[in-house]
Symmetry: C2
Subunit: 264 residues, 2 copies
């Protein structure tokens, strides 16, 4: 009997939460919705330490939080999501930590390849952005396969930055511009922008970095000149819907300014 | 008699404030002090509107606030200060607004050239950073003169970004790297960094943007990857010593992290 009541209370909470969620979405969708949101998912290791989670499961809560946030964004009408999965600088971490990150990446790519429920539901085109050679041959091949398999989707986009830093992206883009440009031709801003990995998406409207750190850590430096930066103190796995609501309200408050800047 | 009491009360407040200031400085100087602080001085126009200040005097409160903050920083031991005086994007504003900005710049350069009290007291070397040709011939010449006259100072540095945007700086640096590089030589990150206008200073430890806007607005994108960003809601002329204290305390709290990043 007690467990029955508990179950009913849980159900009631879930239904109320869903209702509240729909209300918030309804309110927010009246205002302008950002086209592109980028995330720096900071605080996974601190969350694991706080909750005594071992290395093996260190990134699981973060991945669950990510999927939840991405789904909410797509349902709201956000077309592009970019996440900083791991930086070239992360490769300087402990070898077992890097191995765990790579295993998680391989595991998630395989899940997406075998079960395309999420991809089909939201019409997601997946991109891996950065120096993919650092992934190792088999993960690189799997990543390419996933990109090919989703290449015809155009409803939403998920850009996963791996082996990425913004300075690496910029230097790469300049070199490509030189190689593609004619001799002695002056390189224009547009030439360089076209060669950026991130040229596949418009510039982010919002950049969210969790865990209260207010640094860009070499992520999308070129692309976030006029983005709204939002750095809530919650660790990444704790970043909830309310933080998203707050970010969106802030975006809507500054919308006129953003529009003006984009037109310039 | 009343005016005498008023005067004494004012004196007492001033003495207490000075004493408090010295206490704060003493406490802060025990911890690590940043080498370089950069400022985006946002909110001058809003402050002028709020206080019914006309176009002629629009930037005066902001300039007074700047001098006060710069002096406090130098007294604390900060060696480099960079300010975003005006962006290349600002040139799209109303002509009378641009004219007022240029007049203010000319006026301040002349004041520094005629009265070098501030420059001598703090041993300031002045740099104007950006595309100085947008200043017009006479202001450009005056700026060059001021740079030459302070060229032997090495105690502190004041970098004034005029006609600057970060993307302009980067493209300029890439072009210079190409011109200086040998044919078919791969351009390295270091080659580009050497050609940046801002290569005269270490990367900023703290970037402060007033008026609560959390955007970099095309300012020092390359240099602030690991800088602490601090965006208090105060408009620029209202930015007080307490905001500086808060920024410094935050910097000291994250000091170990910054040191680690700088070493990498």
């Amino acid at each position: 009997m007690t467990s029955h009541i508990k179950f009913q209370v849980k159900q009631l909470i879930r239904i109320s939460y869903d209702f509240l969620l729909r209300c918030i979405f309804h309110i927010l969708s009246v205002g302008p919705i950002p086209t592109h949101i980028a995330f720096i998912m900071d605080g996974n290791r601190r969350y694991a330490r706080k909750n005594n989670i071992g290395l093996k499961d260190r990134y699981r809560p973060g991945f669950l939080a990510l999927m939840s946030r991405v789904k909410h964004c797509y349902e709201l009408g956000v077309k592009y999501i970019t996440i900083f999965a791991f930086s070239l600088d992360n490769l300087r971490r402990q070898p077992e930590e890097i191995q765990r990150l790579m295993e998680l990446l391989r595991e998630k790519i395989e899940v997406f390849l075998e079960n395309d429920g999420f991809i089909k539901k939201y019409g997601v085109r997946l991109y891996f952005v950065g120096n993919l050679t650092v992934l190792g041959e088999d993960i690189h091949a799997a990543a390419n396969r996933l990109m090919e398999e989703t290449a015809n989707n155009t409803t939403t986009y998920l850009l996963v930055c791996v082996g990425y830093t913004s300075t690496y992206e910029m230097v790469h883009a300049f070199e490509e511009s030189i190689h593609l440009g004619k001799e002695n031709r002056i390189i224009e801003l547009e030439d360089i922008e076209k060669q950026m990995y991130m040229s596949i998406a418009p510039k982010p409207d919002i950049l969210i970095r969790s865990s209260g750190e207010t640094r860009l850590s070499n992520f999308l430096l070129w692309q976030t000149e006029f983005s709204l930066l939002y750095c809530p103190s919650a660790l990444w796995p704790e970043l909830g819907l309310w933080h998203m609501v707050w970010a969106l309200l802030n975006y809507q408050r500054h919308y006129a300014y953003f529009q003006k800047k984009m037109k310039n």
